[in-house]
């Protein structure tokens, strides 16, 4: 065993230098010439930028709401609820979410509520909701903003992303992008606070 220790130590050092050092530096180097410069997809605005793919909390009636998050949309501490499908406490929580949602969205039938808007995502940072989850919120958002429902519905339609290659993955709506577009529509003009920079 003894004669193997020194080569093991030396090989460990070489591997550390190469796989931790050079590999990481090389990936970082190439990332710098990518469009996003290895900084994730960001949406610039007047006060900085938003992370396009990181779900964020929206609580106001004027916005579309994202899915429930087990960690309160803490992007420095991701996690899911880890609740099992038969856990009575969990089922009670979902029941409460459904009842609350119905109370906040009069005129919506129970069967119209999609599961994604009353269940917590895996990361707690899901940036998307289903088009159906956006449509059932359209009336509430339109009322809060004093807009015609058809305008809001059209915006949802315009922000519905198709599956990759037409069939891989889910049809979805990015809540942040949709809400920013809403703000742009409502605040168009010099009073624009939160809208995207042109281009």
């Amino acid at each position: 065993m003894k004669e193997h220790i020194l080569p093991a130590l030396r090989l460990t050092l070489v591997c550390l230098a190469f796989f931790s050092g050079i590999y990481t530096a090389a990936v970082w180097g190439v990332a710098q010439i990518l469009p996003n410069k290895g900084r994730a997809e960001r949406l610039p605005h007047e006060n900085g930028y938003y992370y396009a793919n990181v779900g964020q909390a929206f609580r106001s009636d004027r916005y579309f709401w994202p899915r429930p998050s087990a960690v309160g949309y803490n992007a420095a501490g991701s996690a899911g609820s880890n609740k099992g499908p038969t856990n009575p406490d969990y089922l009670a929580v979902v029941q409460t979410r459904i009842d609350t949602f119905l109370a906040q969205h009069p005129g919506i039938r129970r069967a119209e509520i999609p599961a994604d808007i009353v269940t917590a995502s895996g990361s707690g940072l899901d940036p998307h909701i289903s088009p159906q989850a956006a449509n059932v919120q359209a009336g509430r958002v339109a009322q809060a903003r004093g807009m015609p429902v058809s305008d809001v519905a059209a915006l949802v339609q315009a922000h519905t992303e198709k599956p990759w290659l037409g069939f891989v993955g889910n049809t979805r709506v990015n809540v942040l992008r949709l809400n920013l577009a809403l703000d742009q529509l409502t605040n168009a003009g010099p009073s624009n606070q939160n809208g995207l920079k042109p281009g």
Partner: protein, 567 residues
């Protein structure tokens, strides 16, 4: 439902189609044949050998291979322990995260050395940039290389000749890392970064103003490079706590399919590599057929259960068109999450793109069964070693059935080899069942330490404990993450299970292959049970089924099966 089915079938066939030529490449690497990449890799590897002072041409016996492997793994463990217990003051800690406690560091170091990556910490708050890159990602490369090198030793030993000399461990190890893991990870890392996985070296958490006036804190880091090798080396330990459910670790459907592809590609290619290496393609097809059949048979129930959704939510009257969405990401959906969950448990990868704790009981049962079998493709290199044990068992039982001394590829399988094979085969259920029994006894007897372990009551709580020991013993690393596992009991018990279940299933098959290689070749006759026939494949499949069913059905009945029938 239908589009998911097409997607999954298309994905599976594409992965197999790419695994075949990749397997040929792997075989060439281990056989030392010339390739057009030599001008790059030859000097690089010479550089590795010269700096480490090893003679990569010196042939080793199987015992020496194992000594070299255990020695260097011990060095890695000590290095990781040092880094993790001192990461708080070591450089490159922009988030100011604290050092790990000794118990947690012990568990984490073991877990990454053995290629398991079971995590009792959460990356954002529990590790630093330095420890992620210089301890954890380093181990993701070298532990994968270790498993593949051990696989290469068994390849070498299975060749048709009588010998004690089975190649050089350092050479197999370095080549696995440089020629197989490195190019694959590098290319994948670039694609991941381009698709929006962060790859920054400094700065720590980003503070971005939120749309509603609050501040959004976003954890970042050198994620893209980390995630690539995490997926390709069947490691599975996420940069972020939520692993590949996290929208920065797996932002798009493209990254999801790429990461799922990386889970499967080397374990699949390794089977074809055996065929090319031994020039016995039919043997590889037999093994591949058994593995694929098992894989698809486990996938189907999981897929159906997830796509149907949770009946309890159905009773509440809401629409479940998208399936069971608790713990899942909308961009990925229930179907592709089921595909990933079976891929990751089949290969001992252990990364997740949805929370396994919140899968339907049937989905959870299939994940458990996948890890209990632990050789449907299996971990890089070691998946084949586990399957090799089943081949030995099938050879023996088949030999008994036809009344001849069992032979594998012209070598007599005798009592000594069988004893080793049985020891390895029984270790897996022993660790899982004894560990779970102990934990369940503590939880049921109301031990104060166990009061806060479980996140779910009843049968599902039992499943959480069963899953943890199964994942540890399969060196998988996924979890029913509701389990509160960062405490002395779980850190130490699963830590010990990890060591045993990594090194015995490597040393055992290498020893058997080494012993067989030293024997004289017996010429085949009409009465020989051919190991590359469909009959033999069916026999192996049945033996896998019988061992898994006999050993694990009672435990599964107490957990996911009981929960399933509670609907």
């Amino acid at each position: 439902m239908q589009t998911e089915l097409y997607t999954i079938l298309f994905f599976f066939m594409l992965t197999v189609a790419l695994a075949y030529p990749f397997g040929r490449y792997i075989a060439r690497v281990y056989a030392g044949e010339r390739s057009w990449l030599d001008p790059v890799f030859d000097p690089l590897e010479r550089f590795f050998y010269r700096l480490s002072g090893v003679d990569a041409k010196r042939e080793m016996r199987w015992q020496e291979h194992m000594k070299v492997m255990l020695t260097i793994n011990a060095v890695w463990f000590l290095w990781a322990m040092f880094v993790l217990t001192n990461q708080g003051w070591l450089p490159w800690n922009p988030d100011g995260n604290p050092s790990m406690t000794p118990g947690l560091a012990f568990h984490t170091a073991i877990s990454f050395v053995v290629n398991c990556n079971l995590q009792h910490y959460s990356g954002e708050a529990g590790a630093t940039y330095f420890s992620q890159i210089f301890a954890l990602m380093f181990l993701q490369f070298v532990s994968a290389g270790t498993g593949m090198a051990a696989g290469a030793v068994v390849f070498n030993a299975m060749r048709q000749r009588t010998t004690l000399q089975l190649g050089n461990f350092y050479a197999y190890f370095v080549k696995s890392c440089t020629r197989i893991l490195l190019p694959l990870s590098f290319l994948a890392a670039i694609v991941l970064a381009a698709e929006g996985v962060p790859m920054n070296l400094g700065g720590g958490k980003d503070q971005a103003p939120g749309p509603e006036g609050d501040t959004v804190e976003v954890s970042r880091g050198p994620v893209a490079g980390f995630v690539a090798i995490k997926q390709a080396g069947t490691n599975g330990g996420g940069y972020y706590g939520a692993n590949s459910t996290h929208p920065l670790e797996n932002p798009t459907i493209l990254t999801n399919m790429l990461e799922n592809f990386l889970i499967l590609i080397i374990p699949m290619a390794f089977v074809f590599a055996l065929g090319f290496y031994l020039k016995k393609k039919r043997l590889a097809f037999m093994i591949f057929g058994v593995m694929s059949a098992g894989f698809l048979l486990l996938l189907a129930p999981a897929l159906i259960a997830e796509m149907r959704g949770n009946p309890h939510l159905g009773q509440m009257g809401i629409s479940q068109a998208a399936g069971n969405m608790e713990g899942k990401e909308l961009r990925l959906g229930a179907g592709l999450s089921a595909l990933w969950s079976i891929s990751t448990t089949a290969t001992s990868n252990g990364s997740v793109n949805a929370m396994h704790d919140s899968f339907m009981p049937l989905g959870g049962a299939m994940q458990l069964l996948d890890m209990m079998i632990n050789s449907l493709f299996g971990g890089v290199g070691v998946g084949f070693l586990n399957f090799y044990i089943f081949i030995i068992l099938a050879t023996f039982i088949g030999g008994l059935m036809v009344g001849r001394t069992p032979e594998l590829l012209g070598k007599k399988v005798e009592a000594r080899e069988m004893k080793i094979a049985m020891l390895v085969a029984l270790l897996h259920p022993f660790l899982i069942l004894v560990g779970t029994a102990l934990a369940a006894w503590m939880a049921a007897s109301g031990a104060p330490v166990a009061a806060t372990w479980l996140n779910n009551p009843g049968a599902h709580g039992f499943s959480e404990m069963l899953y943890e020991f199964t994942s540890a013993s399969a060196n998988n690393g996924s979890g029913f993450e509701g389990l509160a596992d960062n405490n002395p009991f779980w850190n130490i018990s699963t830590g010990l299970a990890l060591i045993l279940s990594r090194f015995l299933p490597i040393v055992g098959p290498v020893a058997i292959a080494g012993l067989l290689a030293a024997k004289q070749t017996v010429p085949g006759s009409a009465g020989t049970l051919r190991s590359d026939s469909a009959t033999f494949g069916a026999l192996v499949f049945c033996i896998i089924l019988i061992i898994a069913a006999l050993a694990f059905l009672p435990a599964l009945a107490l957990g996911p099966i009981a929960e399933h029938f509670s609907f």
